[in-house]
Structure formats: C-alpha cells, structure tokens
Symmetry: C2
Subunit: 191 residues, 2 copies
C-alpha cells in the first residue's frame, strides 16, 4: 500500500538490530486518518470473505483493529497479555515470545467472546517472527472458529513469520513488506 | 448518555468489591458501533473547544480513543505502561497506582509527541479513584500542553476520582456516572 510505504520512508527510523521505529504514526502516536486508509484497503482485499469479528492483541494492535472494525461494522476482541482480576470464567490461553521485549508472556481471551460460529480477521501492527500471530491463530483454533485472514500493517519480510503463517494455508495481507533495511544509510527496500 | 447506560444495564455484571465488568462491549470485546456513538457525543460536548490531539493510556483506552480521534480528525498518543526497547530518547514519566491490578507502574510518553502547542482531550474507559487520569494530567502539565477536557466512558461516582479532577478545574465529561450498584440484586443507579 503506497501511502503506508511512503509514510515509513518519511517517518520510520531504522535502528541497529533490525528495529524499525514507527512510533510517530503507528504504535505510540497513532495517525488515525492513515488507519482509516489502511482499513479501507483491507476491506477491499478481504471483500470475498465474510468476517464477523476482528481479533488483535494488546496494546498497539487495538487502535488499528478498532478502525478496521468500524470499516467492517463488526466488534473487536483483543487478547490480553496477563491475567486480570476483572477477567474471570474460562479462558483460552497461549504463551507468546516477544521479539521486542525479549521475554515470554501469557495471552488470554475469554471463551465468551470466541466460538465456532466466528469468522475472524486477525489484525496487528507488525509481523516479524510470527509468534504473536501464531498465538492468536492457536486461540482461534482452540475456539473452533474460522480464520478468514490476517491483516498486518508492516511485515518484516526478512524474518520467517510471514512464510510460516502462509505455509499453514492462512491468507496474510501485509500492507507494507520490508525486504531489507540498512540502519547505516537509512535505506529501506519494500517487496 | 442513554445508549451507554442501557448497555451497562443490559450487559454489565456487578461483582463484589464494586467491580463492574463490561468486558462484553467495552474493554475485552469492543462494540465499535457503540464507540462511534460515544465519540459523536464527546464531539458534541466539546464542540466549544479546539482539540488537536487525544491522549489515552494502554490498553483498553486505546480503542475508544482511536474512534474518538477519527471523529475529531486528530491523532492519538497513548501512554505506555512500561519501558520498551523500541522507545528511546526522552520521556515524560509518572507513576500510577492501579485499582484493578493492585499495583503501581511507570507510565511514559515520548517527549516528541506532546508539546506546549498541544490542546489535549484525555480519553479513558473508566474513572474510579482517578489515579490513571491524574497521571495523564501530570504528563500533560510536564509538557506544558493544555488540557481541554477529559472524556470518560464510565465514572464510578461513589469514588473520589471525578471530584478530585473537577476540583482542579478540569472539565470531565463522563457518558455514564454510576452512583451506586449492588452485586446482590444486580441493581445499578446512574446519576
């Protein structure tokens, strides 16, 4: 998606260790008008699918997911990263390794909000090694729900996540796929 | 706001310890069409103010804030609850006590995304003892920015947060104020 690639080139900052900082428009400050454009693009890409719910994971996925949900006119469920006293009853749980934070954490979704009747679009800001998305797919599978697709803002094409998930037969639509980037020169190559 | 009060009566669950669970539509599963109605109500209530940015705190504030931001056509900044390796540079920081999780945590906002030129609407899902909102107000003050108001989905009117913040001269618009609730009978009284 051209608008997102241009924005990454303009405002993204490449750091050592293959870190791409997009906190000025995607995951700390959020340019919601860009999110609306992204949501329309996913609506177009998944127009052949019947989707009744968006699933994402806290925290930075939630904002994009809500704008996408407004476009699809469906609710959002977000997976929570730790047990809360406000969440009782039965839960789907899985464990996710975080590339960014270099630790693993438990992720939970209440069984009340996912069922075998649900047709899910998974939305997240980043796809790198795929651990977060894989965790969400496991939760969907536990619920017996159907995954209609995965919508990613920025995929790091040089990491394995996208390939692993597509190899499972899941349709992944990433709006920008970074094939390589160089923190010395600041150059970035999109697929 | 009638639609929100009705929804709380219909789907809210009152638990011992003055816990009001609204996880089926507000902060785990999210009814984004309700959020759009709420956003329009805040737009009406704050129509006399010039607002150029929404500030919220992760995680459950983000979804509402993004829908509000789409209505106001401004960006969102969300305060993060712990230091991330993806957040470098200088930060505004404060410490917040969590009523829900019974612990305190550090909250940070990058100095890049708040300045003295900003006119901020603070958005959050709940206001109880006011610790989270007070933390956000401290951060706004540190930045020298102007707080134009605070928009809350559900205020627990029997706790002190709303009074403390209004006593500071800050305009608070809560779309539902719970004056009392009873976990035995399930009854709930709105202001």
């Amino acid at each position: 998606m051209q608008a997102l690639e241009e924005r990454i080139r303009k405002d993204g900052i490449i750091k050592p260790g293959n870190v791409l900082k997009v906190d000025s428009f995607l995951n700390h400050q959020m340019d919601v008008s860009l999110f609306v454009e992204m949501a329309r693009e996913w609506k177009r890409l998944f127009s052949d699918r019947t989707i009744n719910k968006i699933l994402t994971i806290e925290a930075s996925g939630i904002g994009i997911a809500c704008i996408v949900a407004a476009e699809f006119n469906v609710p959002v469920v977000f997976a929570k990263k730790s047990q809360s006293i406000n969440l009782d009853g039965e839960m789907y749980t899985t464990k996710i390794e975080s590339f960014t934070h270099k630790k693993s954490y438990d992720v939970i979704v209440s069984k009340k909000f996912l069922s075998k009747d649900d047709h899910i679009l998974v939305i997240d800001d980043f796809l790198a090694n795929g651990c977060a998305i894989n965790g969400l797919l496991e939760i969907i599978e536990s619920a017996g729900a159907t995954v209609e697709g995965v919508g990613i803002a920025i995929e790091k094409g040089f990491q394995q996540g996208g390939k692993l998930i597509r190899d499972r037969g899941v349709r992944v639509e990433s709006l920008a796929i970074v094939d390589s980037m160089d923190c010395e020169t600041g150059s970035i190559i999109f697929r």
